[in-house]
Every structure is written in structure tokens, then in C-alpha cells.
Symmetry: C3
Subunit: 334 residues, 3 copies
Amino acid sequence: MKAFNDLADFSAEEIRALIDLASRLDTHPEPDALKGKVLSLLFLSPSLRTLASFQAAMVRLGGGSFVISPDMSIHGIETRPGIVMDGAAAEHIREAIPVIASYGDAIGIRAFAERKNIAADMAEKEFSSLIELVDKPYINMESAMNHPCQSLADWKTMDDFSVPANAGKFVLSWAYHPRALPLAVPAATLHMAAMRGMDVTVLRPEGFELPPQLMQKAAAAAEASGGSVTETDQRSQAVEGAHIIYAKSWSSTRHYGDKLADQKLREQYLDWCVDNTWFETSQDDCRFMHCLPVRRGVVVADEILDGPRSIVIPEARNRMLAQMAVLHQMLGKK
Amino acid sequence: MKAFNDLADFSAEEIRALIDLASRLDTHPEPDALKGKVLSLLFLSPSLRTLASFQAAMVRLGGGSFVISPDMSIHGIETRPGIVMDGAAAEHIREAIPVIASYGDAIGIRAFAERKNIAADMAEKEFSSLIELVDKPYINMESAMNHPCQSLADWKTMDDFSVPANAGKFVLSWAYHPRALPLAVPAATLHMAAMRGMDVTVLRPEGFELPPQLMQKAAAAAEASGGSVTETDQRSQAVEGAHIIYAKSWSSTRHYGDKLADQKLREQYLDWCVDNTWFETSQDDCRFMHCLPVRRGVVVADEILDGPRSIVIPEARNRMLAQMAVLHQMLGKK
Amino acid sequence: MKAFNDLADFSAEEIRALIDLASRLDTHPEPDALKGKVLSLLFLSPSLRTLASFQAAMVRLGGGSFVISPDMSIHGIETRPGIVMDGAAAEHIREAIPVIASYGDAIGIRAFAERKNIAADMAEKEFSSLIELVDKPYINMESAMNHPCQSLADWKTMDDFSVPANAGKFVLSWAYHPRALPLAVPAATLHMAAMRGMDVTVLRPEGFELPPQLMQKAAAAAEASGGSVTETDQRSQAVEGAHIIYAKSWSSTRHYGDKLADQKLREQYLDWCVDNTWFETSQDDCRFMHCLPVRRGVVVADEILDGPRSIVIPEARNRMLAQMAVLHQMLGKK
């Protein structure tokens, strides 16, 4: 495995094999598998789960990692190409990335993008420009429009809780949040659930439609897997019979990059906070998922997070196991 | 061992066995003992020795660790229960702790508490509320009223320097410091020395009495061990015949949580700085101990820290060895 | 090996043996060599490459490390001797260093010095005062006037690219930079190239002469190795026939410690930015080296950094390998 960048780069069988490996590494540790191997971790955007789970994953496999973020460099890292560096930044990303990569056997990179131009972000312009500088196996630790480690963990979590794949109903619901957040998790989640063969409904207010390319990509995955993909703003219809309600806030796509317009629009939907009423017509054992961090009382009510429907903690733990499987495949002996 | 939270949870024999193990691991390294094991380290309060010594301890035993502090999360971690999270913090401690714990085989947590209400702090309300969220073995890396790793290291340090247990005279002395500091170290030290069988004198100005519950707990330990516990503001009497002078500053208990009143009171005792005059009637080989960090010329004179009485550096090194013993017991093969 | 502080402490044969070991560890990993060993890393000055490469080096050899920088301590670390610590700093370097060292099998220290007094810096007053507090093997991770890890990596890099030793022409050139930077890298580089047997030319504007002691030390090394050392401000003469152009900015030695005078002088030399014109009379395969971080368009043109002459990335990677060799010698089984 040369890259773990997008679940769509793998067949469903390959994903299932990774999940099997993740489960096996949980019950049958391999503390010598990556002995002496190094994972470079570059965080151009902040992190808690990803930071902790990758470090833990490497230790469990017998290797190690180091963490670099721009504030560790002298006066930050310049990213603009062709610039005369007479300002604050003393280092350019064109040196920083190859050097950091050169110390590892693989590199994980997190870079959210600035969310100014949706076409550029859909094309992963920023992340691609970083990856171009790497000649090692790499892992997408969240880019503008992807978060494959989260999706692999989410797939495994549904398997762990025996959520049906074909005929399973998966609701990806927008939720209110005071800030305009990236599309990476909804984009990756939509595709993952479709690829798993589920009937996926994207529930969101008008103005928060997911980009058509994402819907088309997911529809193609659903066609191959026997699932389906639809989009609606009608909550009562969306949640009926749901096996999973997966909440996540994201930017308005109508006002992408326009913070004020986005905020004005989102504030009309302060009541999009998942609580018990969302589960009245769902499956009895419908579960609540979220990638975390999550704002209590804003995105989701305490009664859900603290109740039996929530599987957000095992979901977060599966980040580590999923990443162990990826690292094992990427860096282990063949 | 499911928890290392308080020396009082162990018998003196168990403590001595841990110290023996710490000494053995120093001379007979076991670099495979915790192969592939992970310690989660959560610092809600700042640290240098604890941060370094736990990381080093895990490496020496063949495992590893990762460090999380709130400033690594997006806009900090909310700790208030039941709150609507529409402010800065994007993550709640109710998710953060279980997730961080889920990546490790054990978790160490440091949380000093805010020192507003002495009854709440004596009851370890804050630390307990964090530990409730953990379903793994855990280590108290300093709470409102405890610091068991420091105490285990201190006990071992006295053993290393052949300080007598029964009939050994231990002076725990308040010292001036410009800020109101936690009671964790004095509380833990008092109990440790009493449990070790020593004759313990708490030397402090009026207004800095240790809480009666701490004195009673230590007195019970002393009764079991053959030691004794007294409290005084008379320095000359306290230090006479002392084997150990252990200095530490702490908050006024009379004005607990009232910074201005505390400061006004403590500034009457600027001369409580340990220097050679404190040792005029002590044992000839009386040693000086302090948990560090220590303010030179304020808490203790350079002549002491740089002289032969000071054992603060081996005392700090014993933090690592003591913690290795705890981790070995907690996570090693049975 | 008790210290790795200065290439001048070793014979050329010993340096070559270290480089051979570095190459061997690259092709024949030894992931058990330093099992359970700990490297303490103390950064009193900022870092990216050194931070990452030492952590990676220890993992590759089966050990581990921990990182301490002053901002991790409560309110920073006091360094002034004999001071009454009633200000912000709660810890003194006289405790911090021995404690940090006590948790490791060796310690790496980075401390640039304040660059106020050139005689004090030439005498390594600050670094020596820190090392005095250490009773373990130590590594100089960059002091006022040395950077031996960089030099060992640079030597290896020239070997890797078959740059001739005797009769090889090495140009160490000053370059413009908006800030007055340390002399550590030019000092170490000058000596390294002379010790390798090369004909070394220091190219710099007037006012940026390297201190005579550095030139004399390098001349002595050149005499022993069959190389030579000269200094000039004439670029066309300096670069003629060069095998290596090694760019680096440094403080004015005429105005050492006087920021305003330094800045006024350096701003006369804004055109000292290495571009293709510098290579018109060099060897055809003349290479460009720099220790990084480097300011694009200021110190060196993009056309050089992005072209075939630049070997700055393999040079940076060799930091890790060189340090692995040092650590292997310092901490490995004999």
C-alpha cells in the first residue's frame, strides 16, 4: 500500500480485509510488526484524536513516530509558491515536507484547506500540492474533502455493532454548530456508507447540499454495492427506519468561503440538534455516531451522548485500530 | 493493580515491594516488559518532571506513551457538566477522557483543581469526576490533595540514603513562595512519612495549618507504623534532631481560595527560606528534600541546594524508577 | 563516546568510521541496538530538523526519547546564577538540567546563546555552563559556535555525492537574511570541510569576517588533512572551480550583538542571494548545500533549490543517520 488517501481507491473486499486485520490486531497484538519503523506526523491543522491514535498505533506495532506542527518551526512555515521569503516565515513547505518525510518510513499529513473556493477544495488542490513533495507512502489524516481513517473506523464500528450493510439505513445529518466546518467528514462518510451497501440519506437544510460530485461519486459506489443515496431536508422522512444517525456539521455549500452569509444561513437552523425526538420512528436499536469533537447541547443533546444509542467512544477507539491495520499493510513485512 | 491514586490504598509491605521493584528495574532493566503497551498521559495542569519521567519510564520498559494537554484540542476542553457548548470549547471532557483512555492500556491524569473550596478539594471532587470517565487502570499524576508518585519516589529516596524509618525525624516545612500553591505534595508527603514509621513534624506559620482530616489520616498511618505526627509553628523545636527537612510551599488554609488574603498573610513570612541556620540542631547528616520545581533564594538558599545536604536530584530521578515499578505492576505480565 | 560536542575532538579516521556506521545503519537497520534506552532532548532554542531527526533516530535503534523546552515548565526556566527567584520563573536550570539528564542515558542540548559578546560565545560560556550540570554522555545539538551533528551529516552528504575530499573546492558563502543569525553553522562547517581535506574559501562581505580563532582552528585542521583555508569578499574568484557552494547567513562579526548596526550593514548586501550566476565558473557538477531552514528568494533562488544542484534534502536526511551513528557509539553495547 503506497497511499491511504481515499476509501474509493480500494475495493470493498480490500476494505473488509483491512477491518479484519484491525480486529485481529486488537485481540492478537503484534508488538514486533513495525520494529524500528518511524511514522512522520505533520499537522498543518489541529488534532486530538488523530494525534493520539497514530502515536498509540505505532507504539502498539513496535515502532514510533514524531509530531511536527508549524508552530514548532521558527516563525512558521511558508506555503505560497514562488514567494520571496523576507517576512516572518523562515522555512518553506517545499523543504519542510520532504525533510520531515525523509525521517519516516511513511508520513501522515493533515491539512484542512482554507475553504475559500469549493472547486479547488473538491480537486484537493492544497493536499495534492503537499503530497507532490512526498516520495514515501503517505496517509491522509484529513484533507479538504476526505478523512479515510475516520471512514475506515466508522465502517468497522458498524460491523462491531452488527449494523446491517445491505438494507441498513444510514442517515448522515447536518447539525447546527456556531462555526463553518470542513466538508471532509461528510464527504468521506457519505461515500463509506454507500460503499458498505447501505441506503444513505443525506439530511440537511437548504443551502447545505453536498456538492453534486460527491453525491455522484457516492451513487456510483452505491450502485456497485447494492446501496442507494438520496438527499433531503425532511427530517421525519429521513430518520424513519434508520439504523444509524450520523451527525456532523459542515459549511454552507451555497455560501462556501463566505463566513458571514454562511453564519446568517446556519443560524436559521439552531434547532438541528440531535435529541431523543429524532429516534421516534427509527429502528429500536438505532445508533448515534459522530467523529468527535462534538459540542454538547448544540450538535447533539446530552441525553443521546450519555445514553445507550451513542457509540462515539468505541467509534473513536476504532480510529487507532483502523490505522494500525493501514500501517501494518503499508510498513509491515510482506 | 487497577489504580495508583493514594499510598493509603496500599499496605506498607506493598509499598516496600514496589520500591524493591523500582530498585531492581534500575539495576536490571527489563526492556521487553511492556512491549507494545501504551500509556495515555493527560495533563490538565502543567508539568516538567512528570511529563519527562513517565515518557522515559515507558520507553525503558519497552512500551510508549502519548501526551495530551487541553491546548492541543480545538479551542480547549469544556469541563462543566450539562452546558450548552456554544462558546469557544469544541470538545467536552466527557468525550475527551474516555477517548484518550481508550488508546492506552492505562492512563495518567494530572489535574490540580482550582483551589476555590477546600471541602471540595479534600473530597477530590474534580479528580474523581475525571476518573469516573475512565474504565482503565489509572495513575494519579497529581490531584488536588495527592501526589502518590512523588511520595513513592520520596520514600525510596530516603531508603537509598539510609534515612531511618522508625525513630527517623521528618520535618515537613512550609516555605515562602510568591504564589498560593496546591496542597497535594504536603498532603501526600505527610502521609507517606507517617506510613514509613517516621516522627513527622509539620512546621508552618499560623494560617497555613494542614486540614484536620489530613492530620488525622496521617496520625492513623503513624499509629499503624509506629510513627507520630505533630504540627507546630516553632522552627527551633521542630528541626531539632531532624533527619530530613522537606520544604514545600502551600496555600493558606485559613484563606483557601482567597488569593488576596492569602498573599497578605504569606508575605508576613518572607523569611521562611531554608538555609544553613535551619540545620544547626538537626542530625549531622540531615538531608534536604523538595519535590521541585523550587525557587532558589525564596524557598531555599543556594547554599543548601548546591551543598551536600540536598538530595533533590536523586529524589527527582526516583520519580522515574517509582513510576516504572507502578507501570510494571499495572501493565506487566502476571 | 562520552560527548559529541565538536568534530575537532575526533580524528578524521574516527569521523570516517562514524560515517561508515551511519551508512550501514541506513542499509542494515539495527532496531534492537538501543532497546530500552532513553535520550533526553532539551531545546532551549527552537528546532524542526533536530527535533524530528533525533526522535526518529532513537526509534530506529529501538529506544526512545522525550522532549523538554522551557515553555513546558511553569513560567519558564531561570538561567541566571545566584538570583533570588521571586519573579515569573519557577524553576532554575541548575535543577532542570540534572533532572532531565537523570531520566536519560544521554542528553542532547540545544542552546544558541544570546549573541551579545563574541568572546563569551567563542568560549562557549553558555553551553559549557549547561554541560557542567550534566554527568551523562551528551550531544551538542547546536551551541553558540558549534553544530557537530550538522557537520557530520554534511561530511557524509559529500561522500554520498562523491565530492572529492583532497583537491575538492568548498565555498562557504555568507548570504543575505533579514535577521542576524548565529555563527554555529559557519564555524562548524568551516572546520568540517578543512578537516575533510578540502580547499575551503570563506566568501563574505566586509564586516562579516569569521573570527580569527575559527580561521586558525580550521587552518590547523587543513594542515593536518592536506586542505587549505582562505577568506575573501570576491565572489567571482571564490566560486571558480567550486565543487560545493554552501550558503549560510550569519551575524556581522564587526557589529556582533549590535542589532541595528548589523542590520544597517547587512542591508547593503541584499544581492547576496545564490542563483545560477554563481555557478557559471564552478565545476559542472557543483552542488548547493544549506543546513536549512532556508529563505527562498532571499538566501537562495528557487531555481537552485528546485534544480539538480541542490542536495539540501539528502543533506537533511543525513542528520538522522549521522545522529544514529553517534547514538549507537554512545549508548550501544560495547
